[in-house]
């Protein structure tokens, strides 16, 4: 039963990745205008030989079916071709950028979970108090502002006015460990805020739900300390909702990372994608979109599996 549930989720992930790969494949093939001419620009695009050579580089000179099968086998082998401008493998680019994006995303999830869970607990325990109202209002506002507006506000306030943290950029951990984390902190917090807002809301409402249950009354009646009731029994029941939120917020998290990497000049996968789109470097666009989508799909499925393990009713 469990095995079937896990294999089913893996199957869904594989189908989804095939669909993304197919969409990316067809977008380049059925775009308005000749991609080879667009890459070369108006001047060199007028030269038929250069266009023919570029079509070969992009793999557009073969029959469509051969192209498609070749594209799919290349993806399985993680071969996305070479950058159009310097013959470096796209995989090399992605391998260099991907860890930085993952670091940013993981830092954001950790910060978001810590802030969100603690605010949610406070708001639930002190329900109806001033603290509760402040948390709810900030949570609502935190979800409306675009991430790059909050990010800009942070740069203006924390970097420019107070001079506490560097405004943007990236330093290798091996070169300057402290500088590395200083530069990670602002973008990570910016991405974390909307996440923290939803986690706080969800923690609050699910804790209130559990607090109203009979077993909590029993625990209190038998004289268990209030702290133990909350941390040992209520919070454990509420924690599953946090995993749900992370699953639900994943799309926003990816969107946030794309925008925030650009705002803070963080050299991750999304900045690579945006640069490539501006230069019409199609192999890099294809490669990075597939990798980002694949990660999204895999995390989504993992959340589904974890959820199923923790709550067998949802399988």
């Amino acid at each position: 039963m469990l095995l079937r549930f896990v294999t089913k989720n893996i199957g869904v992930a594989v189908v989804q990745i095939i669909i993304v790969a197919t969409i990316v494949f067809s977008l380049l093939r059925f775009m308005p205008g000749d991609p080879a001419v667009l890459v070369l620009g108006t001047e060199r695009g007028a030269d038929p030989e250069a266009v023919a050579a570029m079509r070969t580089t992009l793999g557009l000179d073969q029959p469509l079916l051969t192209q498609y099968l070749g594209w799919m086998t290349d993806i399985v082998r993680l071969d996305f071709g070479q950058s159009l401008f310097n013959n470096i493998d796209v995989t090399t680019y992605i391998a260099e950028r991907l860890p930085k994006t993952l670091e940013l995303a993981i830092a954001a999830i950790i910060i978001g979970a810590i802030i969100g869970i603690s605010l949610g607990i406070i708001a639930a325990v002190k329900r109806g108090s001033i603290v509760d109202m402040i948390v709810s209002t900030i949570a609502a506002a935190g979800m409306s502002f675009p991430v790059y507006v909050t990010g800009t506000a942070f740069i203006l306030l924390i970097s420019l006015q107070l001079n506490l943290l560097p405004a943007s950029g990236y330093t290798e951990f091996s070169e300057d460990p402290i500088g590395h984390f200083q530069r990670l902190l602002l973008p990570a917090i910016t991405i974390a805020l909307p996440l923290a807002a939803s986690i706080a809301r969800m923690t609050r409402s699910s804790m209130l739900e559990v607090l109203g249950k009979d077993f909590v009354q029993t625990l209190r009646a038998k004289g268990l300390a209030e702290k133990l009731v909350i941390y040992k029994h209520v919070l454990r029941n509420a924690i599953i909702s946090v995993i749900t939120v992370i699953g639900l917020e994943l799309a926003n998290l990816i969107g946030g990372t794309v925008l925030i990497e650009f705002l803070f000049n963080w050299p991750g996968l999304s900045t690579l994608l945006v640069e490539a789109i501006n230069n019409r470097n199609y192999p890099i666009i294809q490669g990075s979109i597939i990798v980002i989508a694949a990660f999204y799909i895999l995390i989504n499925r993992s959340v589904e599996i974890i959820y199923g393990l923790m709550d067998p009713r949802t399988r």
């Binding site: 506002a141 790059y148 799309a251 926003n252 794309v258 945006v274």
Partner: protein, 274 residues
């Protein structure tokens, strides 16, 4: 009905913020003090000075004029995309609900697939290959939000179709078009209106996000997101340059979300006490 809206305080606040924004979007070209594309090399990245109340950008263009005209592409994309999503989604949903069988399965599966990807990733995908610009943005964002309307309409169609009065109307010879407009649509007006407000907010967010990345509205035409993206590099020289568009976008987004909340409160009383 209208009274219920204006008695709601959240709605009133958001209405007071959004009405001027819409008016400025409509009459923008009549009230701008400068040509938003006019370059002035003598006044680059200045704070507020005579003739330029909010200062100038990196080309010496008037920030106020650019802010005023920058609402237009955003609103155009928001309303255009929402109309496409609404019309497309309701049509697809009704077809799926009526057709049943393989066609219904095919439509609903496709919708599931679209829904399982982050919209910004799909938008970047299309913009990356097919190019940016207001027209493409309207089409892409409109297409991306068809599934939400389709789902609402689909389930409502299934529910309403089975009701006795609809069955009897059909057996009396009413056309399907009549059933759709008289029985199905009025029944789902509330969720559809709520979805419209959510879609407008999402479309603004996506448009300004893409423009912020330099992949949305094509320069030199301004848009708020794009201004923030451009001003990012001049944050030390003229911090007000980035503050104005951020403030406009932030307040507008907040007001639109508030309006969405108030719609939910007014139209969906079941949710009120949550």
């Amino acid at each position: 009905m209208l009274k219920r809206f204006f008695r709601n305080r959240t709605f009133l606040v958001s209405f007071i913020i959004l009405l001027p924004v819409l008016i400025v979007a409509l009459i923008g070209p009549l009230i701008i003090p400068h040509d938003p594309l006019a370059i002035n090399q003598n006044a680059v990245l200045k704070g507020s000075l005579s003739g330029y109340p909010l200062g100038t950008d990196e080309y010496g263009r008037d920030i106020l004029s650019r802010l005023i005209l920058g609402i237009r592409p955003t609103m155009l994309v928001a309303f255009g995309a929402t109309i496409i999503a609404f019309v497309g989604g309701v049509t697809v949903g009704v077809i799926a609900g009526y057709a049943r069988g393989i066609l219904e399965k095919a439509i609903m599966r496709t919708i599931d697939i679209i829904l399982c990807f982050p919209p910004i990733l799909l938008a970047l995908m299309v913009v990356g290959f097919w190019g940016a610009g207001v027209k493409n943005l309207i089409l892409i964002i409109g297409f991306l939000y068809i599934p939400y309307f389709a789902r609402i309409t689909h389930s409502a169609t299934l529910q309403v179709k089975g009701l006795e009065y609809v069955q009897s109307e059909l057996s009396l010879g009413a056309s399907h078009f009549r059933v759709i407009t008289k029985a199905i649509l009025p029944n789902i007006m509330s969720p559809l209106i709520i979805q419209i407000s959510l879609t407008i907010a999402a479309a603004i967010l996506l448009e300004s996000g893409l423009s912020f990345l330099g992949l949305g509205v094509v320069p030199p035409d301004p848009s708020w997101g794009q201004m923030i993206g451009d001003a990012r590099g001049y944050i030390y020289n003229n911090p007000m340059y980035v503050i104005w568009p951020s403030l406009c976008l932030g307040v507008t987004m907040l007001a639109i979300n508030l309006m969405g909340d108030s719609f939910r409160d007014i139209l969906d009383p079941k949710l009120k006490n949550r």
